[in-house]
Amino acid sequence: MLRFTLKRFALLIPTLLVVSLLAFGLNQCTPGDPIEQRLPPPQDGVQSYEDYLNNYLRLAKEEGLDLPFFYFGITTAAYPDTLHRILPLADQTNVRRLIGQFPNNWSLTQAYFRQLRALRIQFNRTDLSYHSDALIEARRLLENMGLQYQPQAITTSLNALQEQVGQDSTLSALGGKQVSLLKENFTAMETVSYSWDRYLPVFRWNGWGNQYHHWLRKIVRGDLGVSTVTSQDVAEKIGTAISWTLRLNLSAILIAYLLAIPLGVYAALKAGTGFERRLNIALFFLYALPSFWVATLLSQFLTNPEWLNLFPSMGVGEISPDASWLEGLGVRVHHFFLPVFCMVYGTLAYVTRQVRASMVQILQSDFIRTAKAKGLSERQVLWKHAFPNALFPLITMFGSLLPRAIAGAIIIEQIFNIPGVGLLTINSIFSKDWPIVYALLLLTSILTITGILLADLLYAWADPRVQLNQQNQEAHA
């Protein structure tokens, strides 16, 4: 048993690693800039580009955003090893695109980018005691150029910029020289000769100081970050959400099991009768009934004063502090009845069919015939010999039910406004609060993995044949 347990735990590690990589990777792919959202609004409403850059860099350094993504990286030789240090993120993206367009010489691309930034700083100074339409237009053009990477687009903008600067003598004095320098940089970058070795792969080792490492370390410590929208602690938010989801799911699964086991056993005893056939058909349709449709119907017809106002439609209810536990339970049951009902019937149908199938199989096996032959009563045969053996599949099923239930609860939670994982995920997606979304993905995966692990261990403990099978497989291999 110990060996089996240890082996099972060892198998967890790659799964956890993949899941964490997935959550981290998806988090990196999210649109929008997390630093941008957190930047303090400028004082007096105006802010020079330089101040903005400094503020941004300071915050990004705090967050570790200037670090490479992962322990190692494989890129083409065209990309510099310091690309991750180019911030803000929008600029980094554009530099990456520029390199995609002009891969041949990084130092020329870098010169162009630096010159562009210098010009943007120069033209966006707040201490300029001078304003003109040309300056505003030049600022707009420069801002656009920060996002342009296709040669035609850049040429057009450069020409327009030169025209604007040429029209205005003050502007020309301010940055005319630099504009023509920018143009020279661009021409140099565009006309540099082709070199094939830019397409060779380069492997870079980044060491421990990378974003994934920091992220993982924080998560292991229990620090899931801060919501980008409400600045709340993510761990706290998720903790309450998971507790509601677990309460909902576990009560649904428990009720489903409690109902399904007797029903399944009874159906197995009545195998081949009209009752069993009718029950089968009923269970089949129950299983096919989409739970969120039923939930929509129930919430529409049973929580609506127009039709029947039997149940509260919102949330989990409030329990006043001086209420007795019975009253509290009443409130919860009243609020949980419909959502739990919607989650129970599908599971019930599924579990009942499984119990029936495994019970029918067991009742036909030799040891039951032996038990009957030695004169045990029907009851003893059924509950002492057949039933415990039929229970084994139920244990593994729990492992597969939990992830399905958590996923299935997403929409139920949304419809009935239960503040669980599903509702939190959906709300966070809508408010683009990505740290929460991916922390939730990671945590629910870990929860599921734990559920499956427990079910496996329980199964192996209850039915030693499982361990034996595993060892046999090894022996054969």
Binding site: L26, P403, I406, A407, I410, G422, L441, T448
Partner: protein
């Protein structure tokens, strides 16, 4: 291979024909497929043919041609509303509304039972309208198309991944897939370099919104480099040393990992960050997430088949392992795939409906059953918005479940 597929089809049909409920499911499937195929001819805001300005026109057919890119609207017809235009001798589709067309006279959720402000019974909203005055029946007809397209195509993709992986895992197990060491190294290097040139070097394409050609080309590069690598490896280093690939463990580990992530949550969090929501991306993601079910079925079947006598016979007669897998074992392992496929399609349709119900990841103008259900939530008294699309979902899911059950039961 083709013969075997034909034979399996015959078997499937004979299995389905055994019970009345399964025959009904088959008929229901045909019915839904027909609706999906001809959705734009069944519900459209353009007439089939009509006389407009004294000339015969076929606006609906022209609209189809314009969508296909083989025709263009004449300047005077580009933006007209055909229902309000002055037409003579006009022949309309059974439902003279498009799913996104707003009927200003019957907005704010008109009930199918109430008085409706329409020209004649021909223009009645038989299943009512939503809060903006869009016809529910038209939405449901077009929704059939999206549901079936997503369900069937995503499962097609899933089986394209699941069948090869599952059959390799089941047929060879952990011990029997041996290849020459040089070929294995060639394959490994080929895969590495192929994904490098296919995906990393071509990365700038992704920035130019050419996702489809980026991914398709990338896969092509990888496949090419793998083939080339193993071929060259075998050719240049002709050693006879062999390595064993533990393909079964490998595939099962991947399946376990995918199964340990709550699928809908993962789907939601991927779909939410796709830059442009499209049905295409949903199909891809669903396919990539749901192949384990199919792979498991194929693997289980292969485990049994590989010990059967005819496979041994093929081996003794000198058929190469790949040949006996592809020509002899796989066609006979495909039966259970249909079970997994039909349950999978039911599941994929449910996922599509859930996504559009939540309003995440689906294009805003896509008509879907789930979207109608979502509207039901915002107008609680409009029972027709909740009941009719739900029935359509229920029937479709039941049809595919019944078909799966029919195929899975032997005898």
């Amino acid at each position: 291979m083709l013969n075997a597929v034909k034979r399996i089809r015959g078997q499937l049909l004979s299995r389905i024909n055994r019970r009345r409920s399964w025959r009904w499911a088959k008929k229901g499937l045909y019915f839904f497929v027909l609706i999906a195929l001809f959705a734009n001819f069944l519900a459209n805001d353009k007439p089939y043919i009509c006389k407009y300005n004294g000339e015969w026109q076929a606006p609906l057919f022209r609209a189809v041609a314009v969508d296909l890119g083989i025709s263009q609207w004449p300047a005077d017809q580009a933006n007209i509303r055909w229902q309000e235009a002055d037409l003579t001798q006009d022949f309309w589709p059974p439902v003279p509304y498009s799913p996104n067309q707003i009927d200003l006279y019957n907005n704010r959720s008109t009930s199918p039972l109430d008085q409706q402000k329409v020209k004649s019974w021909r223009y009645r909203h038989w299943l009512g309208t939503d809060h903006q005055g869009r016809d529910v029946l038209a939405g449901m007809i077009w929704g059939t198309r999206i549901a079936l397209v997503i369900g069937i195509l995503s499962m097609l993709l899933a089986s394209m991944i699941g069948i090869p992986l599952g059959s390799l895992a089941g047929y060879f197990g952990n011990t029997d897939l041996r290849i020459k060491r040089s070929q294995a190294w060639g394959l490994f290097l080929g895969a590495l370099l192929g994904s490098y040139w296919g995906f990393l070097v071509r990365r700038p394409l992704l920035d130019m919104d050419q996702e489809i050609s980026y991914f398709a080309g990338g896969l092509f590069f990888v496949a090419l480099a793998c083939t080339l690598g193993s071929w060259l490896g075998g050719k240049w280093f002709p050693t006879n040393k062999q390595v064993t690939l533990p393909i079964d463990t490998l595939v099962m580990r991947i399946i376990e990992t995918i199964n340990s992530i709550p699928a809908l949550l993962l789907l939601l969090s991927i779909v939410a960050i796709v830059p442009k929501p499209s049905i295409f991306s949903i199909i891809i993601i669903l396919g990539l997430l749901s192949w384990p079910g199919i792979a498991r079925f194929v693997r289980g079947e292969m485990l049994q088949i590989r010990s059967l006598e005819y496979i041994q016979a093929a081996k003794v007669l000198g058929a190469s392992p790949m040949r006996s897998l592809w020509r002899h074992a796989l066609p006979n392992a495909l039966g259970p795939v249909y079970v997994a496929l039909s349950f999978g399609i039911a599941g994929a349709i449910l996922v599509e409906v859930s996504l559009s119900f939540l309003g995440i990841g689906m294009p805003a103008d896509a008509a879907s059953w789930g979207k109608l259900l979502r509207f039901a939530r915002s107008s609680p008294n409009a029972w027709w918005l909740a009941v009719f699309p739900g029935i359509a979902i229920f029937i479709t899911v039941t049809i595919f479940n019944l078909l799966g059950e029919a195929v899975s039961q032997e005898g």
